[in-house]
């Protein structure tokens, strides 16, 4: 298990041992979405509750996938996404961006590159958390 540091896009590709072509293909396969359905209207980013925290806004993430920009893999967007589905309900092309985000996470998680370091989480940190939060967090960020 390796903790993913905020490394540049190219470093992420090296870590994953995948090219952007392979990554985008895998994302489309896992999510069942066509990244080229997006015409960059920005409705998703306008409604995203986590937009302020993201390195790349939701619509920028989709654009990066369209142009195969590796920086999308080093952006924190997929990890700070809360799977709230606001993007999907508002998208005029019905692109399921939440599924695209999930697919991006799964590319790491299926290679045992967990994002939440379970071994480092102390019992003091968990003490005040309800299990609903812990279960959901581990489901989204560990493989």
């Amino acid at each position: 298990m390796i903790k993913k540091k905020e490394a540049a896009g190219e470093e992420q590709l090296a870590l994953l041992e995948l090219s952007m072509d392979e990554i985008v293909d895998k994302i489309e396969e896992l999510s069942g979405q066509n990244v080229f359905d997006c015409y960059q209207c920005g409705m998703c980013s306008a409604g995203c509750p986590m937009a302020d925290e993201m390195d790349l806004l939701p619509n920028q993430v989709l654009h990066a996938l369209q142009v195969k920009d590796p920086d999308v893999m080093s952006a924190n967007s997929m990890w700070i996404c809360a799977s709230c589905y606001t993007c999907q309900v508002r998208c005029p092309k019905e692109v399921d961006l939440a599924k695209v985000m999930e697919a991006m996470r799964q590319i790491y998680l299926r290679k045992q590159l967990d994002h939440v370091p379970l071994d480092d989480l102390s019992h003091r940190e968990i003490r005040h958390l309800p299990q609903i939060a812990v279960v959901a967090s581990f489901r989204k960020k560990t493989g």
Binding site: L121, H123, I126, R127, Q131, V134, V135, F138
Partner: protein, 239 residues
């Protein structure tokens, strides 16, 4: 070496890919020893209690892997066998006197129980017929008493953790639950408390001193003359 009876039924077992002919009716452990293996690890009480002899096996023609204790399971013809003498599962460090037995204490020390996907693989791996998934679920919802109750028969063989896709350490976590239950939750046995108090107050000191200073002959006489329960009825008596 005892001579083989000519009509004794023999079966074939395969140990780590190598085939042996052994008498039918032996346990897996006895069968492997008959075949010439010597257990320096992965054998203990030989009575189904210590959990040392975890075995993974498969029946010929069946795709499923199955799990047992080598000292308890009868070897069958065509069994493919391997031993798992050790499970490298880490145990959380804690001081039972210092932990706060809140409901989520198990989640705190074993956060990976939150990764349980209810696949039931652990239950299928258990040689003690424990409902393992059920106790993990009880632990996840903070029911320490139920976790302790359901995991009571656990002998720490480790097969559940070996098979778990979420890398949960079922048996260590359950042991913690049982310890917490015993230390903080189970009712205090008052008669035990009373007796310990009596001992601390020295109620039995004089008698113990007397016993300790007796000679062997005096002890034998005292033993023969001890107060006993009524002898059983004539028909039940056995000498």
């Amino acid at each position: 070496m005892a001579s083989k009876k000519p009509d004794k039924e023999m079966i074939h077992i395969h140990v780590m890919g190598k085939t042996y002919e052994v008498p039918a009716g032996l346990t897996i452990m006895d069968a492997m020893e008959y075949a010439g293996y010597r257990f320096t690890r992965g054998a203990g009480c030989r009575s189904g209690f210590c959990g040392a002899c975890s075995t993974v096996y498969r029946h010929e023609g069946d795709y499923r892997l199955q799990f047992a204790l080598a000292c308890q399971e009868t070897a069958q013809d065509g069994m493919y066998l391997v031993q798992l003498p050790f499970t490298p599962a880490p145990r959380a460090e804690y001081d039972i006197e210092k932990i706060n037995p809140k409901e989520n204490v198990l989640l705190q020390y074993y956060p990976e129980i939150a990764r349980c996907v209810s696949c039931n693989t652990c239950t299928k791996a258990c040689p003690q017929d424990i409902q393992v998934m059920d106790y993990i679920q009880a632990a996840l919802r903070g029911d320490i008493a139920k976790t302790a109750e359901l995991s009571f028969d656990c002998i720490q063989c480790g097969l559940c953790s070996m098979r778990c896709p979420a890398d949960i350490k079922h048996y260590h976590m359950a042991q913690m639950a049982r310890r917490i239950y015993g230390r903080y939750m189970s009712p205090v046995p008052q008669h035990l408390e009373d007796r310990l108090q009596e001992i601390a107050e020295g109620k039995f000191d004089a008698e113990l001193d007397r016993l300790v200073s007796m000679s062997r002959k005096e002890l034998e006489e005292a033993y023969a003359a001890r107060v006993r329960e009524e002898a059983p009825a004539e028909s039940e008596k056995s000498e």
